[in-house]
Amino acid sequence: MKVRSSLVLGAVWLLAAAVTIAQEQPSPTPQTAPPPVPTPFPEPAPPLAPAPPTSPSQTSNYFNPSVSVIGNFLGVAGHNPIENLKAASLRESEVALQAIVDPYARADFFLAFSEEGVEVEEGFATFTSLPWKLLAKGGRMRVSFGKINTLHLHVLPWPDSPLPIVNLLGGEEGWKGTGLSVARLIPLPGDTFSELTLQAFDGNSEGLFEAPNRGDLSYNAHYRIFKDLSESVNLDFGGSLGYGPNDTSTKQDVQWTDLEGADLTLRWKPLQTGTYRSAILRAEFIRSHRREPVESQTAYGWFVSGEYQLAKRWWVGARVEASDRAVNAVLRDTGQAVTLTFWPSEFSQLRTELRRRRYAEGVAATEALFQLQFAIGAHGAHPF
């Protein structure tokens, strides 16, 4: 059943891609293109400073992808026997390679270099010319489960991941999958954006899913609604359902974990930015139901977070969080954090977080996290 559904998804995706490409081919019917009509308008004047002729070696660079690197340095002070982060680390250097593949697709690679090694954080092709308002992606990607899980480390509003991500989505890195994603735009009345995303991935995702058989895949469905409440206020709401085999599975007896999530983001940002004030309120809830041979575990996690822009380059924030642990739902961790962020420019960021976490083991840890992020090169804008 699972194999069949993934095959169906793949077939639909391939069919859609084929239809699009076929639509682009010259039509064999007599429906000919209109003859070229000479424009009656004067030709635009050439630029005053035309670029000098380029040599073949230079023109070949035109098709090179945009390259960027974002460094992420983290310093930690305080004592934490449970999450024992290093005193100082270049935690991640994200190398992005992004370009248009052809008239039908673009490709984005995000390689995460850490002190432990290199990982393909994401590497996918996006098919942007599909019919029926579809957008398809194939490759490795952050799964569209909730809001925070989709974000790269450098765009998180904190230097760390909140507890529900750590405890219920496989760890600090969250849920990443290798497979296919299809999203359909479903416009609602009143200029309301809504989008349904269906995803199927290989059944292995570090810390979250472990497939004993090739056909045991993981799945995700996400529905998002976005509405401008006014020119300066907008509301973003999402619901997610995930499903995959957990590490208690055997080849003969596959045990599944169900994930359910809801996310809410409320933004206020006056367009007249002379005042440089804005605010974001985020909340996310995750439920994990992990079937196990002996006893199933049902764990809940949530966080609520707010950020307020004080000045053009200054932000303050606060977060409260709590989460059971997926493998043993009796164990619950809680935490509170406040942040202060300064942006010297669009390309660098300094952030301090004071964090207190109380772990289920009865240990409380108070830490200060210092983050320095810096970007070089042309990094593509991220979706909102």
Partner: protein, 302 residues
Amino acid sequence: MKKLFLVFLLFALARPAHAKVHVVTSLQDFASIAETIGGDRVDTFALAKGYQDPHFVDAKPSFILKLSNADLLIVAGLELEIGYLPPLIDQSRNDKIHPGSVGYLDASIGCDILQRPTTQVTRAMGDVHPYGNPHYWTDPANGRVIARAIAAKLSQLDSPGKETYERNLASFEARLTEKENEWTAKMAPYSGTKIVTFHDSWPNFAKHFKLAIAGHVEPKPGIPPTPSHTLEIINLIKAEKIPLIIVEPYFDRKTPQAIAAQTGATVLPFYPSVGGTPQIKDYFALFDYDIDAFVNAMKGKK
């Protein structure tokens, strides 16, 4: 088969005589020109409002809806929209408006673009635009080029409306010529006047109306004022007897006002785009408003 044909025929007949051309623009200035050229054959939507900093626009999903139905996307180009438009285009599911497609118009093509770097640029220079200064629509001569490009593009997309577009373009150009003479006459007494601007948004305006930009309140593009640079600007204004500090509506006026208090210069809010203030309803009103404000601010100044 006959029934199918009849249903198809009914559907075809039920469609309006001509559907409007849906035009989405990054700036309200282009929307204004497209409305003037397109008349009732087009509807327009601008992603960035005239009072908004066009460098920092959120890529809101509601814009995806607008782009998914667009027949034509008009952009300033020169990477002005690099921070928000590419992901919106990718998610629009509308291949007509992708760069290079028939429904994509880069309004900078053919315009007089200033400050094209001739040496290597780095971000040590601030938020520089490597393809030249993207605030080119503040020169009415560029407005004429943009209007011609929009008319040509609309004629290509909606050939039955070609005559309308040609006629509207002709009247736009005639009015622009008349207005340019009026604006030039108003600004003539101030030819060569030195000014300080907050951001480097005005080289095209200054070139057209023969003003000399002596400095900027920002030490580098996109970098907020620093005490040492502010002192340099104060000394510059005093030494050169600069009468005006021009500030776009989306920047904090605290530092310009502090400079003005120490130098006697006047802080003049200057609007770079249509819609910057409710009185600026179209591209002509943009220059009417700014030039009148400039002339009024210069009264009593040497």
